[in-house]
């Protein structure tokens, strides 16, 4: 199992355990973490699973593809550490991953 720490824009923290192989989005949705709508169900088509990845973890993720980049480009408040978390697949290497959900997703 992989641990993920979800933080919201007010600083509230929520720790979730999920199986390797599923996406961070799926972990959020199945654990009722607020602020991640996932309208498209995980196909990189709606940009409602936007998160800010803690700097320490940014480099450990698989690089984003052109689709994710395009969808993020049309999202609000994009930052250098923005990712669509349906595109982050959990693995043992990501145990302890920390992400923040943006204010605009509340």
């Amino acid at each position: 199992m992989v641990k993920i720490l979800f933080k919201d824009h007010t600083g509230n923290e929520r720790s979730v355990e999920a199986a390797a192989g599923i996406s961070v989005m799926q972990a959020a949705v199945s654990n009722g973490v607020p602020g991640i709508d996932a309208d498209c169900g995980g196909s990189c088509s709606c940009a409602t699973c936007h998160v800010y990845v803690d700097e320490a973890w940014v480099g450990k993720l698989t690089a984003m593809d052109a689709n994710e980049d395009a969808m993020l480009g049309l999202s609000s408040d994009r930052r250098g550490n923005s990712r669509l978390c349906c595109q982050i697949t959990l693995s043992e290497e990501l145990d302890g991953l920390m992400v923040t959900t943006p204010e605009f997703q509340f």
Binding site: D37, D39, C40, G41, S43, C44, S45, C46, A47, N67, A70, M71, G73, L74, S76, E103, F104, Q105
Partner: protein, 427 residues
């Protein structure tokens, strides 16, 4: 002999030979089914046609129609595939079924591909940024309250005119900072922009062109006022100051204005009307709502699915390709029937029912998916949520009387009139 008739204007009339009205989709050859003619949509006969194609020809080629040959994509997952593959299925030259050269159309980013699409969308999407929406909530609520408080109790009136049109028009005037007393023009221009000549709004292309000229002149005047002022939060100010849009040609400006008016106008309007109709058709859901107002946000998404205010979006194949076993040729017209995908029981359980606490209510196709996903979707949801909160504070029941009148269009799926009677809350 050409498959494309000389005049789509004539052949989209209600009485034309292309109409499927009164016909049984199961009693005709599959190849003859033509979803594009507006007749079955106006007469509310379209559901069995969608069902037969979903079951027997999920990617269906219609070789002959009033608007030429086209493919119909009927299943949720195939529609998703098309919608999220802009490199294969282009939004240029137009997202309507009628080819651009046959009709007066104006360019806007809905009918553009990247990179130009992304450049233009990025400029205007700030107007519906979440922080802006928060600022609009109070105004929307006070307007909804005023409109609802002004309605007659216990006597028949047209909900479309008094509520759906009035509320959305006021909203649009705010987004554009448009002169409030002239706001009815926004509705008129929006209706004209999508109207089929002969369908009841305009009688000819010339009439439509005249209305569009007036629209351009008015917005040009507003542009000239705003460009010299400090940048503001309204759409016109954003367009006139944005790097990617401040030098755009007049026709493109008109196109983007119309896009934002049309996008925010009859879609929201028809969802407001549709919600009332749906709750009347499924009274046990109305009971559920009365017992628990916290269901409103989820209900809003379900209403938008059930109504599917835009029945389709069109793409054009950029290359030869294959979809669910069918070979599509470069240049072919491909229609994503959102109204069908939202009824696909492989993805959505009991899709013909309104179920206000349905799980995954937001996964419907009505806003599209991918790069072109509706920019105003959270604004639409907010308007609907607020209007239902205010409705539930005031009325025990909104009773629909008789059948609503539907719009003559296979694109805009909505209502021109719906008679209701209001029953107030007991206290």
């Amino acid at each position: 002999m050409s498959d494309t008739p000389a005049s789509p204007q004539l052949d989209r009339r209600p009485e034309s030979k292309w109409s499927m009205v009164g016909r049984d989709p199961y009693a005709m050859p599959l190849e003859q089914i033509d979803l594009a003619h507006p007749g079955i949509w106006k007469e509310n006969e379209f559901l069995p046609f969608l069902k037969r194609l979903r079951e027997e020809a999920p990617v269906h080629y219609c070789a002959k129609s009033a608007t030429g040959p086209y493919w119909s994509v009927m299943k949720y997952k195939d529609i998703m595939e098309v919608d999220t593959s802009p490199h294969i299925y282009s939004s240029e030259p137009t997202i309507g079924i009628v080819d651009a050269f046959e009709e007066f159309t104006v360019p806007s980013f809905i009918s553009m591909d990247p990179p130009k699409h992304d450049e233009q969308r990025r400029v205007v999407q700030g107007v519906v940024a979440p922080s802006n929406l928060k600022n609009l909530e109070g105004l929307i609520r006070s307007r909804a309250a005023a409109i609802l408080d002004d309605l007659p109790i216990g006597e028949e009136f047209d909900w479309v005119e008094r509520v759906s049109i009035e509320l959305t028009t006021q909203m649009l005037a705010t987004l554009f900072d448009f002169p409030f007393e002239d706001r009815h023009k926004l509705t008129f221009w929006s209706d004209v922009a999508t109207a089929i000549p002969g369908g009841g709004i305009v009688n000819s292309h010339e009439e439509r062109w005249e209305a569009m000229q007036d629209c351009l002149a008015t917005f040009t005047r507003l542009w000239n006022e705003r460009v010299n002022a400090e940048p503001g939060n309204d759409l016109i100010s954003m367009l006139s100051h944005g790097e990617a849009t401040k030098n755009m040609p007049p026709m493109e400006y008109l196109g983007n204005i119309l896009l934002l008016i049309v996008g925010g106008n009859d879609t929201t309007r028809n969802s407001i009307t549709g919600g009332v109709l749906a709750l009347n058709q499924f009274p046990e859901e109305y009971d559920k709502l009365r017992a628990d107002h916290s269901l409103i946000p989820n209900m809003v998404s379900e209403i938008i699915r059930w109504q599917t205010p835009l029945a389709y979006m069109r793409r054009t194949a950029k290359v030869d390709t294959e979809l669910n076993g069918q070979k599509i040729k470069k240049g072919d017209k491909v229609i994503m029937w959102y109204a069908s995908g939202n009824q696909d029981d492989e993805v959505i359980e009991n899709p013909e029912r309104l179920i206000i606490d349905r799980p995954n209510a937001r996964q419907h196709l009505s806003f599209g998916f991918g790069l072109h996903r509706c920019m105003g979707n959270r604004l639409a949801e907010m308007q609907l949520r607020i209007v239902w909160e205010e409705i539930m504070d005031r009325f025990e029941n909104i009773e629909v009387v008789g059948e609503p009148e539907r719009i003559y269009s296979s694109f805009v799926k909505g209502y021109s009139k719906m008679t209701v009677v209001l029953h107030p809350k007991a206290s």
